[in-house]
Structure formats: structure tokens, C-alpha cells
Symmetry: D2
Subunit: 203 residues, 4 copies
């Protein structure tokens, strides 16, 4: 007997401005192009357990929950000031398989089911501890995807994932968006480059 699954009532691929953002941190949201590449790198299955660590506006959580629509997404956020916005976005754009966890990683992760996919979008200085703990809990064939803006932490995340035995990759994404000028001509405006470090566990 098959349970009636929630249909995807909205399409995958929300624009950045769909997510209410807290000021003055506006602009801190994972940008659409980076969100797309990060979601794709997570190796999501329909029944995946996902941890979104440093969930922020929830933009990764609500999209991961569409793809992993028989799975469970845990949105961990330590900044209590951000929680109302995260809750509002999940209520408006998310689905019932998203669970908001208020607390600081890695401590706040201990009671969660072991993940198949871990996204680290914000680390508040605990990057190494979070990665080490997440990897210790990562299911076979699971993936951890870290977004980084800082050169040094990028290198650190890469080395750490590799030293923990994961197949590790690094990608830098630079995207530019067309901006139409008054005469209809299109010029390009760059977004800041983001490093995406991915570690995959073998079977």
C-alpha cells in the first residue's frame, strides 16, 4: 500500500527574492546558481535524510525537501534572531518534511537521524568540528557539501574531508547575470565567487 505523496505544488528553482531576508545581512543568501550546484552535489534521493547546517533563510532546505520528498530535512540554525524568518520561509515555501532545529552545531546534531546529505552553508567558526562530526555520522554513499567564501577555510575544508577518507572535490563558481540597460542592451554583473567543497563517502 502506497501512501499518497505530497505533490510538488511549486516548481523547483526559486529565485533569490522568494526568500525573505533579514537585514542588514541581505545578500548573505546562497545565490541561485550556487544553490543549484550545491543541491546537485548533495546527491539527493527521494528518501534522503538531509542536514542543512546554518540554514539561514532556508533556501537550501526548502529545495532539498522538494527533491527528497519522501525523506526528511533538518534545518539547523543557531542564530535565534534568524529563526522567525526561517520559520516563515519554511511555512510559506517548504513542505512538511522540514524540521527546524534551533541550536549550535555540532551539539545540536546529536539527536538527529544520521544523514545521507549534509549541506554546510554557515559555520560560525566551528567549521572543522562540524565537518568532523557530520562525517562521523554520514551514511554510506552520503555526501557533504560546504559553501565557502574564504580562501583559507576552503583549503582547510578540502584537506579535512580528504583526511577523513572522503572522495573530495573543489569547485569555484563565478556567475554573472545579465542586466538590461535603458536601451535594451545587456551587460553582465558579477556575483562574488563561491567555493564549493564536496566530500563523498564510498559504499
Amino acid at each position: 500500500m502506497v501512501k499518497d505523496l505530497p505533490k510538488i505544488r511549486r516548481p523547483l528553482g526559486l529565485p533569490d527574492d522568494a526568500f525573505e531576508q533579514r537585514r542588514p545581512d541581505k545578500g548573505q543568501i546562497t545565490k541561485r546558481e550556487v544553490r543549484a550546484v550545491s543541491l546537485y552535489a548533495l546527491g539527493l534521493r527521494q528518501d534522503s535524510v538531509v542536514w542543512d547546517i546554518g540554514a539561514g533563510t532556508g533556501s537550501v532546505s526548502v529545495e532539498a525537501a522538494l527533491i527528497a520528498n519522501r525523506g526528511q530535512v533538518y534545518s539547523i540554525e543557531r542564530d535565534t534572531d534568524s529563526l522567525p524568518l526561517l520559520e516563515a520561509n519554511v511555512a510559506r515555501l517548504g513542505s512538511e518534511n522540514i524540521h527546524i532545529v534551533s541550536g549550535e552545531a555540532p551539539g545540536a546534531l546529536e539527536d538527529l537521524p544520521s544523514p545521507d546529505s549534509v549541506f554546510v552553508g554557515g559555520s560560525g567558526g566551528n567549521l572543522s568540528e562540524i565537518i568532523e562530526y557530520a562525517v562521523s555520522r554520514l551514511n554510506p554513499s552520503g555526501a557533504i557539501v560546504v559553501n565557502l567564501a574564504v580562501l583559507e577555510r576552503t583549503q582547510e575544508a578540502y584537506r579535512l574531508l580528504k583526511s577523513l577518507g572522503l572522495a573530495t572535490e573543489l569547485t569555484q563558481i563565478t556567475s554573472s547575470r545579465g542586466k538590461e540597460m535603458p536601451d535594451g542592451a545587456v551587460r553582465l554583473e558579477s556575483l562574488n565567487p563561491v567555493f564549493i567543497v564536496t566530500g563523498r563517502r564510498g559504499n
Copy 2:
């Protein structure tokens, strides 16, 4: 009564080397980062009808079919030499909701159900005709996503989609991948930039 859906047996997010490629065109595959951004721009729903025009190795089709797992994906390819590879990749990595269509767009599109999402990865010189026809058939709230390498065609696709009344966006994606050197240090190797032009129809 709900039909038992095919589960996603493999994760979303295949690496480029999962797709057998024809020689000597190896390297023509839509690269992982661009595939991710393009898939995300397609605005896929679970029940979407998708046209993948110029399907090539099938890399976009097989991933779109995972997300639109109650929908239908039509993989149109005019190069008969490419068909065996496309068929093999769909058989190995795809799902039953993918339908290979041998023929040249736009003619080959006429008998297909109207699309919610159209990906144009290869256009063989018919770019304008393909876009015009696809837009004429595009369902409300549908999206058409075009990948382009050439400056001039990028501008042409952008203008055409706009003139046809779609909300049009242009993004250039430049990605670089970390390459590990013998001493473990990581340097960056660039992929060629790709332009992604997206047009969305209102409700």
C-alpha cells in the same frame, strides 16, 4: 488511488564521466555545474512535461526525469550517430518516463504533448525556429532554458525570448575545478564559460 511511483534508485547529481560520450566530440557534454544550474532554471515539478532538444548524451534528460518523476521527458536528437549512445545512457541511468525522439526540431516536436519545461542544449543552426516553436507550445508558467557558447547567439536568444513576451534572464557561468598536484596542493582549472538564457511564461 495512487500508482506506485518509481523510487529514485540513484541519487540526483551524476558526474560528467557517468555519461558515455561519443568521440571525438568528447567534452561537448553539458558540464555538471551548468547542468545543475540549467536543471534548476527549468522550474521542474513532479508532473512536468519536459522537452530536451538536442539531447546529446542524455545527461539533462536523465536528471530531469528524476525530479519530474511523475512527468514525461522527451529527448529529441537529430544526429542518428548519437542515438545509440543516448539510448544506452537512458537505459543505464534513466527511468521509464524518458522517451527518445529521433528527428530534427522543430519539426520533430509537433506530435509531442505541450511542454512545461524546455531545455535547448544544441540547436544545429535552427535556434530561432526552435525557440519560436517551443514558446508557441509552452504551457502557462512554463520555462525554456537555452545553453549557449557563442556571444552572438546568446544575444539573439535573449532578444527573441523577450520579444515573445517571456520574462527573460541571462546568466554566464564560469566554473573552475580544483586539481590536486603531486604534493597535495590544489590549483584551479577553468571550464569554458557558458551562457544560460531563461525565459519564463506568466500564468
Copy 3:
């Protein structure tokens, strides 16, 4: 008998903020990295005649005049509101071999000596006429370098220079600058991409 040459009293390579900028167009200055690549593409000799068309703040003129220190640099600017700033920058940072020409290209170019190197940084809509006229006057082995933000004009400039018989190249420059955060970590901030189209005349 050798005339006493002006020494380079300041180094080549001024930062962007050396040039007073008019508001609200601040940010329109040719950025340092693009200025460097453009100057290098001009193929300057010590005795070059240089036209800087759409001189703006004069950032290209004052640097070209350092390298072509036995040559002559003509800084053409049609916007009379910009002239005081251009004059001030040339007086402060430039050398005596820079000549400001108030007027609109291509008309304002007619009385100037034929150029070895032409930089087009701003074209006010006359791009094709300016390029055609500049090429008609370009000395053997001369070069014309055009900076463009707009896709369509880039293609237009490339095709035009090529049709006029010049060896034509196109480069897109995307640069990101390190920005130090409060904790000393460095992240990258992108500048908008610029297209540089160069045409070179044979001997």
C-alpha cells in the same frame, strides 16, 4: 643631439582611487586590471601617437603617456561636464605629452595626427563610426583596443574590426579582489566582467 626626456616621476600602475571620479558615475572608471590588460594590448612604443577616445577620468591617458613618453597622447572627451575632472587628473598625474581634446568622436579626431594606438573606453552610441574612422587613420602596425560591457556591442566591434582587415582578438576579463574580513580571513569580491576587443594592423 638628444633632448632631455621627462623622467617617470611616479610609477606606472595607479590604483583606481588615484583618479578623482565624478558622481554619480563613480565606478565607471576603467578598473585597474582591465586598464592593465588594455594598456598592454595597445602595443605602445616610446614614441607612439595615442588616441584615448572617451577619456573620462583620464586613467588610461596618464598611464599611456608614461609608457609613450616620447610620444603624444590625445584625450578626447565629449562630455563637457567631465572636462574639469579630466583636466585636474591630467595636471596632477599626467605629463606634458597629454593633450585634452573637447569634442565628439569621430568628428573631433580629424585634426589629430594619425594614431599608432587607439583606446575606445566610451563610445556614446557612435561605436561603429568611431571604429571605422579610427581604423581608416591607424598607422601600420597600429592597434585599436575597445572596452565593452555589452554583449551585443562586443560582437559588433569584433565583426567590424575583422571586416576592416585587422587581426582581431576578444578577451573577457573577470577579476575578483581579496577583501579582508574583521578576523583577517580573505574572501573574494568580483568586479563585473569586461570584454576587450583588439584589432591589429599588419605592417
Copy 4:
């Protein structure tokens, strides 16, 4: 009494293929765009003393010697197999103010006059020692410019220059060159990104 200076008989701005390259390291040459930005960052004066450490093909040396045409350029190269190529390029494209120094930095730098501008294009593992020594000898208002491909060394060079009291900047350059296809359309091919770290000494 002014000495008759060597005129610039060739223009500044050689293409990459002007420099004979050793195989199989072809491609290791500092690419034109990065050479331009690096030269510009060196803050060259007509009378500058320049050290080009890891001179390789000599592409930076011969261009720096054109700008610093009353100065002296020292081209240091430890790889004796590369010396014949360096010597040939300097003989063919360079000027009399270039001095080739065979040996390994920093040891080989001890007998050279103190530099105004230092370019580090190759470091063979001695990066920190080379930077420390170069900074210890750097004249007031001098600049040191380091080209790096590796993330980790980029961070290391940035931190070291900063800790030594220099005003430090980091730029990542990604350039793409237009490549014409058989039908005349132009697509973009990326060069690998390069990090340029610059330290400047105050007066």
C-alpha cells in the same frame, strides 16, 4: 648631460607565442593577461631595479625592461635546462639592461642591487624564504608581486607579506579568449585562474 637611451624598438605587449617555450612545460608561461596585470602591479619607474625570480621564458623580464628602460632587470632562474631558452628570448626580444642570473633564490639574490620591484613567478618550494628575503631588501615605495596557482600558497603569501608590514592585496584573474568557429561565430575559452598577491612598502 643625458645619455642616449635605447629606444623601444618593439612595442610593449608581446603575445604569448612570441616566447619560445620549453616542452613539455609549454603552457607554463605567464599568460598575456596575467603578465599585463602583474607588470602593472610592479609599480615600475623608468629607473627601477627589478628582480624577476623564476624568470622562466623571460616574458616578464623583457617587458619590464622596456618600461624600466633606464633601470636594470635581473632575471633569476635556477633551472639550468631553461637557461638557453631564457638567454635566447632575452637576446631576441630583450634589451641590454637585462641580466640573467643562474642560481636559486634566495641565495642567488645576495649580490644583486636592492630592488624597487620584485616579481615572483616561480618559487620551487622556497616561497616563504624568497618573499622574506625580497622584502628585507625591498627599497622604499617598492612592490613585490607574486603569481600563484595554488590556493594554499596564495593565502600563505598574502599573510606573510602582511605580517612583514607591507600593504597587501590579492586579485584573482580569470580570462577567457574568443575563439572563432568555422562559421565565424565566437565562443569563449577560459584560461585557468591565477592569483596575484601584491605587497607594497610605504615610503
